[in-house]
């Protein structure tokens, strides 16, 4: 038992205690008494709209990212395993999926801002991209930026499932007289469906949790919930309100937990078919 003590001590201090602080803090008022005030404070209009924005942003980028990502995944999976194309695409996707954040925000400024490459280039042909500050809107610019880490993440989580499709299944379909459409409609589609939906859920939580890209891109206002929480940590917080941040954090965990539970249930179904 002594051998595993350091591990449990470490994870208690840096994972267990922080989780408890969030959970308990959400139910304490400014002076440390039990209260539901923080939770009812979540009904403030700007917090409600931040939650809605976050959910819509995550859902839209998850679905679009899953569709385009799945297309890319299938295209890459038809290439030779261990070949150069596959290795380069998976490595690049790994970088973009994990590394995003500040780098992506700057890449976007270099492309779409008033001085950006695409803006200046399109100006020559009379199209003005910079007439409105769309790049800094949560439902335009931010959505587009998020696609740059959602599509790569889709490839990484969906590739193993697509690789699990056996060529024999297609041959069997053909020998029974089925067309390509039949194969996708009745064989590959149903087999991939649970992992496709599971991957979409994973993409949702990924976008929902993301903070860095939005923080580096948006300097005015806090349209999404991670930015709202970040705001409560900085200095200009009204006294006695700091636990509202914990209530918002608890709300985030609750949403992620629901989505992850669905994911685990789907995962069980997936391994039934694609396992081994």
């Amino acid at each position: 038992m002594l051998g595993v003590l350091p591990f449990f001590a470490y994870t208690t201090i840096f994972l267990g205690i922080p989780t408890l602080i969030v959970v308990i803090g959400a139910f304490l008022d400014g002076s440390g008494r039990a209260s539901l005030g923080n939770l009812s404070a979540l009904a403030q209009p700007q917090i409600v709209s931040a939650f809605i924005h976050s959910v819509v942003l995550s859902a839209v980028t998850a679905v679009l990212g899953a569709v385009f990502g799945a297309l890319l995944t299938y295209a890459v999976s038809t290439a030779r395993a261990g070949g150069l194309l596959r290795r380069l695409v998976t490595s690049l996707c790994g970088v973009l999926a994990q590394f995003g954040g500040v780098t992506l925000a700057f890449a976007f400024i270099a492309t779409f801002s008033a001085q950006g490459f695409l803006t200046l280039w399109l100006q020559k042909s009379g199209i003005d991209l910079a007439s409105t500050p769309w790049l800094y809107d949560w439902d335009k610019g931010l959505m587009l930026v998020y696609m740059y880490f959602q599509i790569p993440l889709m490839l990484i989580v969906f590739l193993p499932a697509v690789e699990g499709l056996r060529p024999q299944w297609r041959e069997a379909t053909e020998s029974l007289g089925g067309s390509t459409w039949h194969y996708w409609r009745h064989v590959a589609g149903p087999i991939l469906a649970p992992s496709f939906i599971g991957a979409t859920l994973l993409l949702f939580t990924n976008a929902f949790s993301a903070y860095a890209t939005a923080a580096a891109l948006i300097s005015q206002g806090s349209p999404i919930i991670p930015l709202q929480i970040g705001g409560t940590l900085s200095s200009e917080v009204i006294l006695g309100q700091e636990n509202i941040g914990k209530a918002m954090a608890l709300g985030m965990v609750a949403i992620v937990a629901v989505v992850m539970t669905l994911y685990v249930v789907l995962e069980r179904r997936t391994t039934k078919w694609l396992g081994s």
């Binding site: 994870t11 840096f14 994972l15 890459v76 954040g101 500040v102 903070y211 991670p226 940590l233 954090a249």
Partner: protein, 272 residues
């Protein structure tokens, strides 16, 4: 036979169309970063920004925040990888050997950070870090404690795959019966046998630590990404160049990792 050939041709066409179109979508911002950082004041091209970025003297004198950020991130990568390995490898081995009943618990704890967004972790870690600062000082290096938690799920999966591929029990018993001490078993028997798993866990941690922004920025500590973000307010061209350089570095790390992973597979008999 001809059916096969037609399909393969059609697949190749489909593959290059999709990879081409999506590739263009991804190449655009990267190309724009190159274009943006090579603009000369009068119109035309110059490599001045890139020369500045790699001129240590100028960086040291004019952009001290970038230098601190790079040094902090370098220190953080090393410290995170060391703590992660020293904590996880013995624990996971020991659980396999002596406490198989705890395996589910350890796995659950290690995968837990996947369901807790980093921004939520920051909220809970704030009081913990007040204590860390009290005992150990304000240094940015102590962020490594939080980073170990962030890399836990990825490191666990990599190391678990490595340990599953070898017969830990037999190896450890053989070494013990020949008189090796536990530390010696760990260092000379287990570690060399799972070195590719250790390498990929380490690479993943490096990529994650180099890209981390949320925790460092909200605790007002320095690291590479915080420095790049700060630099963006002053000199956007240099900041974009630094961001691109960091991206390329992470890409190289991951390509290297894909080769390490392949090396492991070729040593083992084919699965399935």
């Amino acid at each position: 036979m001809s059916l096969h050939a037609t399909r393969r041709r059609r697949q190749a066409g489909f593959r290059w169309t999709v990879v081409g179109v999506i590739g263009l979508f991804f190449a655009l911002p990267i190309f724009s970063m190159v274009e943006f950082t090579t603009r000369a004041p009068g119109g035309g091209r110059t490599l001045d920004t890139w020369a500045t970025l790699f001129d240590l003297g100028v960086i040291d004198a004019d952009y001290p925040e970038l230098k601190t950020g790079i040094l902090a991130s370098a220190g953080l990568t090393v410290l995170t990888v060391v703590i992660m390995l020293v904590m996880l490898v013995p624990t996971m081995t020991w659980v396999r050997l002596r406490l198989p009943g705890l395996r589910r618990t350890v796995e659950f704890i290690c995968l837990l950070p996947l369901t807790i967004p980093a921004i939520v972790l920051v909220v809970g870690l704030a009081p913990v870090y007040a204590w860390v600062a009290y005992f150990l000082g304000e240094s940015s290096l102590w962020l490594a404690f939080a980073y170990v938690v962030l890399v836990l799920p990825y490191a666990y999966r990599a190391l678990d795959a490595g340990l599953s591929a070898i017969d830990v029990k037999t190896l450890a018993e053989a070494a013990r019966s020949l008189g090796a001490s536990w530390p010696r078993v760990m260092w000379r028997i287990i570690l060399p046998n799972i070195r590719t798993a250790v390498l990929s866990a380490a690479f993943l941690s490096v990529a994650l630590v180099l890209g981390e922004f949320t925790i460092a920025s909200l605790f007002s500590r320095d690291n590479l990404q915080v420095a790049i973000n700060l630099l963006g307010k002053r000199d956007s061209s240099l900041a974009i160049a630094a961001a691109l350089a960091a991206l390329i570095l992470a890409f190289i790390v991951l390509v290297a990792m894909s080769f390490v992973g392949n090396g492991r597979r070729s040593h083992r008999p084919e699965e399935s």
